[in-house]
Assembly symmetry: C3
Homo-oligomer: 171 residues x 3
Amino acid sequence: MDVFGIIILGLVTALGGGLIRDVLLNDVPIALTNNLYFIVAFASTGFAITLLPLKISIRNSVIHAADAIGTGAFAVTGVVIGSNEMFSWAPCLALGMVTATGGGILRDILASRIPKVLNTQLNATGSLIGGSVTWLLIPHDLELAVLAGAVCTAVIVWVGHKGWLSMPSLR
Amino acid sequence: MDVFGIIILGLVTALGGGLIRDVLLNDVPIALTNNLYFIVAFASTGFAITLLPLKISIRNSVIHAADAIGTGAFAVTGVVIGSNEMFSWAPCLALGMVTATGGGILRDILASRIPKVLNTQLNATGSLIGGSVTWLLIPHDLELAVLAGAVCTAVIVWVGHKGWLSMPSLR
Amino acid sequence: MDVFGIIILGLVTALGGGLIRDVLLNDVPIALTNNLYFIVAFASTGFAITLLPLKISIRNSVIHAADAIGTGAFAVTGVVIGSNEMFSWAPCLALGMVTATGGGILRDILASRIPKVLNTQLNATGSLIGGSVTWLLIPHDLELAVLAGAVCTAVIVWVGHKGWLSMPSLR
């Protein structure tokens, strides 16, 4: 894979989840209307690529923490947006999961491998449980709902990365 | 693949075709606005998974019949919805095919393999022929159009599963 | 892969880029509202398939030239449509790239392999550079913008096919 392909994979991973969510909601993807999304995603990808030839490797724990925090934030965003559009629980939780895991799924599809979320990771489970917390708390206190849901998702994802817990595998 | 991944694959197979159709038509997917879709798909997937450890295997003929009936119903839905939106023949037939085969295509993309519809199955051909029947009959009698198109599609798909007929393969 | 699958791959390659673009822009895909797109794509695919058993092989240089010209035209279309909708530079260039490379990406996803654009080809780079030329010239002269952008993209894609230049590969 060439440099350009890697940049595209980075952008897709960062922006893909919100993009799928917006397409499903029939909105023009926010990444198209607000340049900031592109610029931040592009800068982060570029930064990561420049580290490669410097042989500076990012420790796994840093990547896992970033993934856990990101998944938590994304899952909650999906649920809140769905609830703003007055959807009921099932689509809200689905939008949370899609926002949180869609980017990684698109990345793995482009890299022609089975998406990691379908396999051993707790990212989907975490965003489902954290999203439910958010969904239940939204009528009471939006800020609490966002915070509790994101933390709950992040903790579950992190536990999954640590290998302390995993979904049962059907052979 | 873990239990969660299999549930996702089940949901995607069941809801994916209509989802792609609605996205193309610029509608909010019906699976997001009506919880019943989620619940039925989730219950069916859950039921199938619980059979696995019980070593109860569903006979191939049952799966093939279910696939034939489902493909027939989905193909006709796509054509009727397209025709309601006043599209001409080509997009109507395309919407029928997408509704009927999109779920299986998404499933195979996620499972990182070449979609079965592109290979030996008669599902795409069947929904095209059955969809044409529906399209031709809609101006005369909607109920007859739906019935004839669905039966025609189902029979062709079933003949394909039986192996009595297959599309010529280009090596 | 059977004949039907190959026809689908042909249609997807031809229409997929514009389809993704229109879905992102929240428009009903133009291929659904104007039959001409289907008919031309279908006729071209059918023509190419009939050549196969005749052992008439199309020379690589013809395929490369067609790909270069098509990529140029598609990239410019995406940028112009984005600019008509008053998007800023980043989404316009992204729409150009998606229109130009989306069809091939969908084709490779269906064929279960890593998209060629992510690998050694200059198609994505070319549509980015050519699209920038178009974007810069649109305020001055639309016709010049279209022509210059398309030629610029086509030349870069062609240079890539010739193997004279390629993106640096990371390992």
